[in-house]
Amino acid sequence: MPMWLFFFLAALAVIAAFGVILQRNPVHCLLGLAVNLLDMGVVFIGLGAVTVGFLQIIIYVGAIMVLFLFVIWLLNLQAEGLSGYLGLKFFGAIGAAALAAELAVIFLQAAPISRLVAAPPTQGSIASLGRSLFSDYLIAFEATSVLLLAAVVGAIGLARRISSSADQAERSGAGQTSLPDQRTAPFGGASRAVDRDDQIPTSIPAPATNDSARRERRSA
């Protein structure tokens, strides 16, 4: 990868990262993050880690960011101002300051970049990746797999528990009290409508004539 291309991609990554934190609309923030991750994938490919670069694009840009998009849509997140989340911002600022200091130290101590050295072609290949994953890093790899499996099972468990309790509620007839908005809306709405029908002739006249009106109706 030529030097100018690297700096172009690096600048793009920084701009996209700023887009993530400076945009108001969550969907725009997400797009900034997607561009950033795509850009990182391209940098990986340019530096010789071809497999890792493509995997980064497939997994992060193609799958995880799309799921983020889903979450934003399904939670109906709206554009928000800069106020709020003060605690989060306080600790975030401390973390950012620590990272910036770390970067500054590294920049001051490291030798300046004069040229880019791509990894040898055998190193970024899918064969070498597989070999190192299943020999040198076997335990870490398997531990990660187990962790992911546990997360998947946990996600299914969480999703299942809600639906089974809803089923039970439905079966025992308790659903009307546990989910007032959805379950009782038809009944509640209907009874309210009946009330209103009753009230229309009685509530419009003054209270004094109320009794006379009732008497009239009874006699009728």
């Binding site: 797009l31 795509l38 497999t51």
Partner: protein, 372 residues
């Protein structure tokens, strides 16, 4: 310098071929659906009535290839109120672009020798082309999702959500089909996959992948059709429920770009099926020096290199067009899935079958060392 020119030519030719094929497929879809449904179909537009004066029937070619695009690209470009203008404009191109760049790694022939130049008939040679294809397919989701979201319309948003959910669900099955193909051939290089499929079994049977990986073929065909959001998998644009899904609020040229994306995806699926399971550019019994016909006497026909290259290119596109036509025929034959059926079919049908297929493939390769 000459390499640069050749590379640019290859890239331009393949993109033009695909774009033109989308137009022809549009014609085939409209006229073919008319035939299937016992209608006449497009038969009005003509250029100065030349065809009629010559006594030719109007096949609707002028309609679909000239009049419709002209109309679409000169129509008002409508952007709804409250829409996100930038993303609304970007979305169609974000959908089309990743699909078009996948064709860069598609080999349409072996090598062409002109003088001292040896031209690899593939726009870009990439060792990990299969990963590249999956990455591009993954990115293509954004165009639809953002098109639905940026339109500021409930139907569009629902269509966008459906399209996204469907595409990431079926990408899994597609990826599993890819994986078993890769395990079978032992390479991610598409040109290499085509070369491996050369030669014969039993002296006469072409060594095409369909004979080794029939389950992957069905998986790729099904998941690919779902990925291109065609009937029976067209719930994102189910017109009886969602008007037109994610491109409800698009008109004119941008809508045409979305339509082109659909057809480009059809071409892509056909290309993938051809590459992985039907020998790609291989012609049965055609080798580097000419035809070696099977049979007791083994007739041999020597052919020059350019003739072989032309035969290979023709073979590749004949297979591809066949599978494009097949997908369009399926579209007009099957009814649409319901949304929950679609999800169940993807997650409880294709994914387990894909996993099983991958396990069996891996087991066979490990046990018998069956490098293809």
């Amino acid at each position: 310098m000459i390499d640069l020119v050749i590379g640019a030519l290859k890239a331009i030719v393949i993109v033009l071929l695909v774009l033109n094929l989308t137009g022809v497929l549009l014609w085939f879809e409209r006229k073919g659906s008319a035939l299937i449904q016992d209608r006449i179909g497009a038969n009005r537009a003509a250029v100065f009535g030349v065809g009629r004066r010559l006594g030719l029937p109007n096949l609707g070619l002028v309609n679909t290839l000239m009049a419709d695009p002209l109309k679409l690209f000169t129509k008002q470009d409508f952007v709804p109120d409250g829409a996100d203008h930038f993303l609304h404009g970007l979305a169609p191109f974000l959908a089309l672009f990743p699909i078009l760049i996948t064709f860069a790694v598609v080999p349409i022939g072996d090598v062409l020798e002109i003088g001292s130049q040896t031209i690899n008939l593939q726009a870009a040679h990439l060792d990990v082309a299969a990963l590249y294809l999956l990455a591009a397919l993954g990115i293509s989701v954004y165009g639809l999702a953002l098109g639905g979201w940026a339109s500021n319309n409930r139907w569009s948003l629902l269509g966008g959500i459906r399209a996204t959910a469907q595409m990431i669900s079926y990408e899994l099955a597609l990826g599993l089909a890819f994986l078993s193909v890769i395990v079978t051939y032992g390479t991610l290089d598409l040109q290499q996959i085509c070369r491996i499929q050369g030669g014969v079994w039993f002296g006469w049977l072409p060594r095409w992948g369909i004979l080794v990986e029939p389950v992957s073929f069905l998986l790729l065909l099904t998941a690919g059709m779902a990925e291109s959001k065609r009937v029976p998998f067209d719930v994102p644009e189910a017109e009886s429920e969602l008007v037109a899904g994610y491109f409800t609020e698009y008109s004119g040229g941008k809508q045409a770009v979305f339509m082109m994306t659909d057809f480009a995806e059809v071409v892509l699926v056909a290309v993938l099926i051809t590459l992985f399971f039907f020998g790609g550019w291989q012609v049965p019994w055609l080798y580097r020096d000419g035809f070696h016909f099977p049979g007791p006497h083994g007739a041999f026909l020597r052919l020059p290199n350019y003739a072989i290259a032309i035969l290979q290119i023709v073979s590749f596109w004949v297979k591809t067009v066949f599978f494009c036509a097949f997908q369009i025929l399926v579209r007009w034959t099957l009814p649409r899935f319901r949304y929950d059926q679609l999800m169940q079919f993807g997650w409880k049908g294709l994914v387990p079958v894909g996993l099983l297929n991958l396990m069996v493939t891996a087991l066979v390769v490990v046990l018998f060392g069956a490098r293809y």
